[in-house]
Amino acid sequence: MRRVALGEEDAVAELYDRYCALVFKLSLQFLSNNAEAEDAVQEVFVRLWKTADRFDPRKAKLVTWVMLITRRHLIDRIRRKTVRPKEQEFTEHHEVTATDTPLPSNTLMHERNALLWQALQRLPELQRTVIERAYFHGFTLREVSKQLDAPLGTVKSALSRGLLRLREQGNKDISAQL
């Protein structure tokens, strides 16, 4: 990342070759089509170049940093672009159909993320709800806390446990740590 920060073209190319697949796949999970995902990948790598000097190898592995910047960018993009459901609608929706997920209705997205949707449906209600709202709709934890009228700590715990449960299939040992 030091070489990336210095603007070395080879270093940027190397970074892309190592992480483009992960960044692209995550972008596809968040966004509705390939074109948007490709644009997002482009923007993410520009952002990585701009923030390279902030990377601290003592605090995180490079892949963690890359995915953190990617997720941050995707959430920002969702917050900017998406007209999120109003709080009242969300609350009403939650009260009426607790199991009906407010996820994007794009069919292709559902097909791509079939495994994710299935895993989500198996989560406890609170965990599923906070993941949907915080992770896929870009609401802050405080907003979700307010929407659900639940303590912030509870929302945090539910979100953290839910995210780990989603990955149980691939990383069973991680959930054992919490």
Binding site: G7, C20, W49, K50, V63, Q169
Partner: protein, 264 residues
């Protein structure tokens, strides 16, 4: 559950949220602080946990990016880098202009040399000033010595070589006498040698033909004549002898031998 365990669990929870970029900036800062404050083993555990979360693509779509995306991305980064360089160009010019301005007055090395020369010249000036003042002082002293020497020679020619025995002699006590009536013309200098029992009297600017009697009053009040001096020139003088035993406590006075006017 201890507080330590609770904090440990909280830290892991926050680590999961941070890895998913779900912490707000303030919480992110708090997490970073807690991370750095935690033991190295917990730090390693968190780093490993976040790495696993980052690498996990089990729930991600299976599609790969198109090959042409690589070129687009690299071009976008290069373009942004160029734009950034252009944006920062004015800042770089500030340095360049400063360098150019410096170049008009020579390089920084030359400036340093000139400053050094200036300091050295200032030092030399100070030293020269000190030397000049010292030389002037010595010259004055030499001139004074020369003048004194010339004066002494002249005085010796006028009043005899005995005069020099009383100049700067630590055993001599000197007395200056002036006319009692306030007429400031002329004066007398009398030197008494306590060790050898002799003395010398010198009259300067006395009136032509004036005769002066030098008197000594001993400790018991006895007045004795020490010498007579007749003014036959601008400077006159003579030596005289006296008893050593009388010198201690003696006061000196003089009187005009013709008019009786006193010198005190």
């Amino acid at each position: 559950m201890t507080n330590e365990t609770h904090n440990y669990k909280q830290l892991l929870e926050l680590a999961v949220l941070e890895a998913h970029s779900l912490l707000e900036p303030i919480e992110d800062d708090l997490f970073t602080r807690s991370f750095h404050d935690s033991p190295a083993s917990i730090q390693e555990e968190i780093v490993r946990l976040q790495e696993k979360l980052a690498l996990d693509d089990s729930l991600l779509p299976s599609e790969n990016p198109p090959a042409e995306l690589r070129k687009r991305v690299l071009q976008a980064v290069a373009k942004t880098a160029d734009q950034e360089a252009q944006r920062l160009a004015p800042l770089a010019l500030i340095g360049a202009r400063a360098s150019a301005a410096q170049a008009q007055f020579g390089s920084s090395k030359n400036v340093t040399v000139w400053r050094t020369v200036a300091v050295v010249l200032f030092g030399v000036t100070v030293v020269l000033a000190v030397i000049t003042l010292d030389a002037q002082r010595k010259a004055n002293h030499s001139a004074q010595l020369a003048l004194n020497s010339a004066t002494n020679t002249a005085l010796i020619e006028l009043i005899g070589h005995k005069f020099s025995e009383f100049i700067g002699n630590p055993y001599c006590q000197a007395t200056r006498l002036e006319r009692e009536n306030g007429n400031s013309t002329g004066y007398l200098r009398i030197a008494l040698n306590e060790r050898f029992g002799n003395g010398f009297v010198m009259g300067i600017d006395l009136e032509e033909g004036e005769e002066i009697i030098i008197q000594g009053t001993t400790a018991d009040g006895t007045v004795i004549e020490l010498a007579r001096l007749t003014a036959d020139g601008p400077i006159v003088g003579r030596d005289f002898e006296l008893d050593i035993a009388l010198i201690k406590g003696m006061t000196i006075a003089a009187v005009d031998a013709n008019t009786g006017k006193r010198w005190v």
